[in-house]
Amino acid sequence: MAGRWQWFHRLGSPKWFYEKTTRWLPWLVGAMALFLTVGIVWALLFLPPDYQQGHTSRILVVHVAVAGTSLSFFPLMAVAGTVTLVWRMKLADMVARNAAPLGAWFTFLTLATGSIWGSVSWGTWWEWTDSRLVSMLFQFFLLLGVISLRSAIENAETAARACALLSIVGCINVVIIKYSVDWWNTLHQPSSPISMEVGSPNGPEFWVATAVMIVAVYLFLAVSLILTTRNEIIQRENKAQWVRELVAQAR
């Protein structure tokens, strides 16, 4: 039993995380740079203009990738929150804490790229009849709620556990909000089925570029989360022996 769970408890150790990510980071950053470059160059230069939307369809490559990623923040924070509440693992809370502002930024970017695309394709910057815009807006509000709850509670331990609970409740609610807003009204194009045929509206050249971009954005998310968490580890553990040695080395 002890052997099987050892990895889990090691994972909770900030020092272990810091050392591992020092080794992983160059690879992750390299992969992110590669995917990001390929995705953006492909979308901007080589993707043929859509037969209806023209050049604006290029925005969609970024928009779909960012939107897909921003949906994963509440599940991520809810899982981290559960670990915080059940095992009181410091590392999980550090990840959750840094995920909230990142998630707010990603949600904001989703809304921004969505309205820029909408301003051309639909002729309007904001459309209440589009259910995805509206549910994204409320996800944005909920993320702001988590962030402001964190900053309002002074005791770090209490803030961690309160935010963990709110993330779990919020995760359930985001799903309910999404479906109820869908029910409420929708003019959004339903997700279009992808097609294998080159030259068709959703042909491979479009969805492969989007897939590359999705991988790129997820890697970007992983790198940002790891970097901010490492910063926080150094800040919170500044009295630990290994952090002092690290600082001494850096000098």
């Binding site: 709620g145 609970l165 919020g170 109820s180």
Partner: protein, 243 residues
């Protein structure tokens, strides 16, 4: 102020006595909260007056034409109810926190979610119910067609407890914080959106001649889910924030 006492006495008793104690503690908490609200009338009156004032602003701000008003009546009443319940929520655990009786609840031998549930019911009875009772009158002033009244009141009866119990989680998370007004709104408003959607859809459907039963059933499902889950989450939140 001695409400959880019934339960505390039974701490060393066997489970059968405890089960009886849980019911007694539930009733005692309910009675105590109702009594306090009756004695502190402003806490009931303020949200009620706020509700009426908010509704009266819409005809002035949008249009006094009854053709326009009848279209927005249900939505206006629902939004005003949500805003009023947000106002009344602020006082939900405040005085209990300040005089220390909230900590007594936490120390009680009875399950905390049951006592929290009792407080939620008491709060709804004094802040939600009066607003619902006044809603047909205000809906009439907003020229809501006759087919809409029953559905509006039913949707409010099913929906406002959900909002209250969801808000109770947010209040429990922010109990003891000085400036929590905006945090409460930012957390509670998105969570109330589904209730607002199905509440207004039910009325619109009734006005269009359809049956609102489906939307009311969804509201009922939300109510059942919140009765089961929200007090547990509120109890967990209170244990976190009060340590």
């Amino acid at each position: 102020m001695n409400s959880p006492g019934n339960g505390a006495i039974n701490r060393s008793g066997n489970s059968a006595i405890n089960r009886a104690g849980a019911g007694a503690a539930f009733l005692a908490t309910l009675k105590r909260d109702l009594l306090i609200s009756v004695k502190r009338r402003n806490d009931i009156l303020n949200p009620f007056m706020f509700f009426i004032i908010v509704v009266s602003l819409f005809p002035i701000g949008i249009s006094p034409e009854s053709a326009m008003l009848r279209q927005i009546a249900a939505g206006v009443v629902w939004i005003a109810v949500l805003l009023a319940s947000m106002l009344s929520m602020d006082s939900l655990y405040r005085s209990d926190y300040e005089d220390g009786s909230l900590e007594q609840l936490l120390l009680s031998a009875q399950p905390l979610y049951l006592l929290v549930f009792a407080k939620n019911i008491a709060h709804w009875l004094v802040s939600g119910l009066p607003v619902i009772l006044a809603s047909p009158l205000l809906a009439y002033m907003l020229a809501l067609p006759a087919e809409g009244y029953a559905t509006l009141v039913l949707s409010l009866l099913l929906g406002t407890p959900v909002v209250g119990m969801l808000g109770s989680i947010a209040v429990a998370l922010t109990v003891g914080l000085g400036s929590r007004g905006l945090i409460l709104a930012v957390i509670t408003v998105p969570m109330s959106v589904p209730v607002l959607i199905f509440g207004t859809l039910a009325v619109q459907n009734a006005l269009a001649g359809g049956s609102p039963a489906g939307y009311l059933a969804l509201l009922g499902a939300m109510l059942a889910a919140s009765v089961g889950l929200a007090p547990v989450a509120t109890a967990a939140a209170l244990r976190i924030t009060l340590n």
